[in-house]
């Protein structure tokens, strides 16, 4: 009986490990390939090399794509955090007509296929551009705003959750002691929900940095974001060069995720 229990326990550990491996293995494989010495991928590799990482520095298109993705993600995150915070305060701290409609509106970019969102934006701004005579697509501004749209659901969701979770009486107590509503918010509420705000920022950044579909039609040819640059390469071949580029992205995302986990705990977000 005892032996049977132990066997079934080991069996279940094995099964869970295998299934988690199924999810994680491709990522590990990409990192592994980035160290292969030969260009053509063969298992097992003939040897290992760091040459591909050095190689990235000579490939302007990847460097530029990283820089563009960084700029877009940073700008989109800043805007998304500010208007997401404002919207969350409006949603949670005030009586507002049509509150649930607004909530649905803020979450709606999650429902529509992102590729359709990107196309719709493209054609809309092409039209607008013709009417107004200024260049909108491709432009940095429209690209950033498109990324704000796909990150808004996350910032609103995370900050709203933070605001709902805290005790409203604290703010009231501060107001009873003579603080204005604004001051009470600034000095009491904001510090308490800081983790939610930081998490919202990090996730907005990660999702913007990793998003492929919304940018596809909004970038200039030859000046694209890093997911598009990787897609265009992988479409033709997978080799250690692109694996090294991907590994750089994996490391950046990993560091950001660990910071987010420290601040709020990932299990509270997902």
């Amino acid at each position: 009986m005892r032996f049977g229990l132990r066997v079934s326990r080991y069996f279940s550990y094995g099964a869970v490990t295998a299934i988690l491996g199924f999810v994680l293995a491709p990522v590990v494989l990409v990192v592994w390939i980035s160290f292969f010495s030969q260009q053509l991928i063969l298992f097992p590799p003939k040897g290992y090399s760091l040459a591909w990482y050095q190689n990235i520095l000579n490939q302007k298109n990847f460097i530029n794509a990283f820089i563009l993705s960084f700029q877009v993600a940073l700008a989109a995150t800043a805007i998304s955090m500010i208007i997401g915070l404002l919207a969350s305060i409006g949603l949670t701290r005030f009586r507002l007509p049509g509150k649930s409609t607004l909530q649905n509106l803020f979450l709606s970019p999650l429902v529509v296929p992102v590729i359709i969102t990107g196309m719709a934006m493209y054609i809309f701004f092409i039209r607008l551009q013709r009417m107004m005579g200024i260049e909108l697509v491709p432009s940095f501004m429209v690209l950033v705003l498109a990324h704000v749209i796909i990150t808004i659901p996350w910032t609103v969701r995370l900050i709203t959750a933070g605001l709902i979770g805290i005790n409203a009486e604290l703010e009231e107590a501060a107001m009873d002691l003579g603080a204005s509503k604004w001051r009470a918010f600034w000095r009491i509420t904001l510090p308490i929900i800081r983790p939610s705000i930081v998490a919202a920022g990090i996730f907005a950044f990660i999702f913007s940095f990793g998003n492929l579909e919304v940018s596809l039609m909004l970038v200039e040819p030859g000046e694209s974001t890093i997911p598009i640059e990787i897609l265009n390469y992988v479409f033709w071949k997978v080799d250690p060069t692109i694996a090294a580029v991907a590994t750089v992205k994996i490391v950046i995302t990993g560091i950001l995720m660990l910071i987010a986990d420290r601040v709020v705990g990932l299990s509270n977000v997902f």
Binding site: L42, F94, L105, F106, I116, M121, F124
Partner: protein, 306 residues
């Protein structure tokens, strides 16, 4: 009574209410404005285009016609793409559910410290985006890839198999790609099922399978419903995975839609395809959740039956 209240309410209070509402409206207005201009309006324009007339060579002619929808729904080629998308999405969803359930159960019953570590492992691939994960799967499934290498060295096959560009590969990779969402959704629900319930069932003589079928499964039903719905929608909308793993041989809706716009510049037909894709996804989800919740409630009523 209501009228009395209105009279009794001091004028100053009314004024305050209005000021507060004004402040609330001004707080939500930037986000509302941005979403309306950048998201809702473009989508409406795109939907409007689906009723326009496509004129090859020119952009399109303004019209109110259903010909794009008719063209899509009467062309076997497009219908096959739609059907393939639905079949692959359903299969991937089922596969993801079956694989995710044990992991979620395991996670839900873990101590907090280990649980946060495992959640990091589950969430991480999800944050990377699908292109990098597809890249890894190409290295697994290609002719000289890991899978063929292993099969060859075990002598299971004599020449490399063509795995990429098959519906099988797309189904498996899609399931792997969406699984983190399934695991997280299920885990959140299973976590709330009291372990005491399982113990009680076991004390009453239930086997492991019976505990699963009669206790855990029905109680996890809301999570199963939410998880499968979310994952199904993600599969239906998938772009990078079918493009890179399936290629032109296993064309699905999102890549087909994109090439309709990018290669042929047929915006009216593209718009119709977008409407059909979103419509089919919503209709399937609504139907599914209705059937399942009805069945779920019925099985709940007959819960004493063993």
């Amino acid at each position: 009574m209501q009228r009395l209240n209105r009279i009794e309410r001091p004028a100053q209070h009314d004024h305050l209410m209005r000021a507060e509402r004004l402040r609330a409206v001004s707080l939500v207005s930037p986000a509302t404005l941005l979403l309306t201009v950048m998201f809702i309006l473009p989508l409406l324009v795109f939907v409007r285009f689906s009723f326009n007339q496509f004129v090859p060579g020119e952009f399109m002619k303004t019209a109110w016609t259903l010909e794009n929808y008719i063209k899509f729904l009467s062309d076997p080629y497009y219908l096959r793409v739609l059907l393939r998308t639905i079949v692959i999405s359903v299969t991937s969803t089922v596969l993801a559910l079956v694989l995710a359930f044990p992991v979620s159960y395991f996670l839900a019953r873990l101590r907090k410290r280990w649980k946060s570590l495992l959640i990091i492992i589950v969430v991480f691939p999800l944050l990377l985006g699908n292109v990098i994960r597809a890249m890894g799967w190409i290295a697994v499934f290609s002719q000289a890839g890991l899978m063929n290498r292993l099969l060859l060295s075990f002598g299971a096959i004599s020449s490399p198999l063509q795995i990429l560009q098959t519906p099988f590969a797309v189904t498996v990779v899609l399931a792997a790609v969406v699984m983190p969402y399934m695991i997280l959704t299920l885990q959140a629900v299973i976590e709330k099922i009291q372990p005491d319930l399982e113990e009680a069932a076991r004390d009453l003589g239930a086997s492991t399978w019976q505990v699963f079928r009669l206790v855990i499964f029905p109680l996890a039903m809301p999570g199963i419903l939410a998880g499968t719905l979310l994952v199904f929608v993600l599969c239906m909308n998938a772009y990078a995975t079918p493009l890179l793993i399936g290629g032109p041989k296993v064309l699905m809706m999102a890549p087909a839609l994109y090439s309709q716009i990018q290669d042929v510049s047929n915006w009216p037909l593209g718009g119709a395809m977008a409407v059909v894709l979103i419509g089919v996804t919503l209709a399937t989800s609504a139907l599914y959740s209705r059937i399942l919740s009805r069945k779920y409630i019925r099985s709940f009523e007959g819960g004493t039956r063993v």
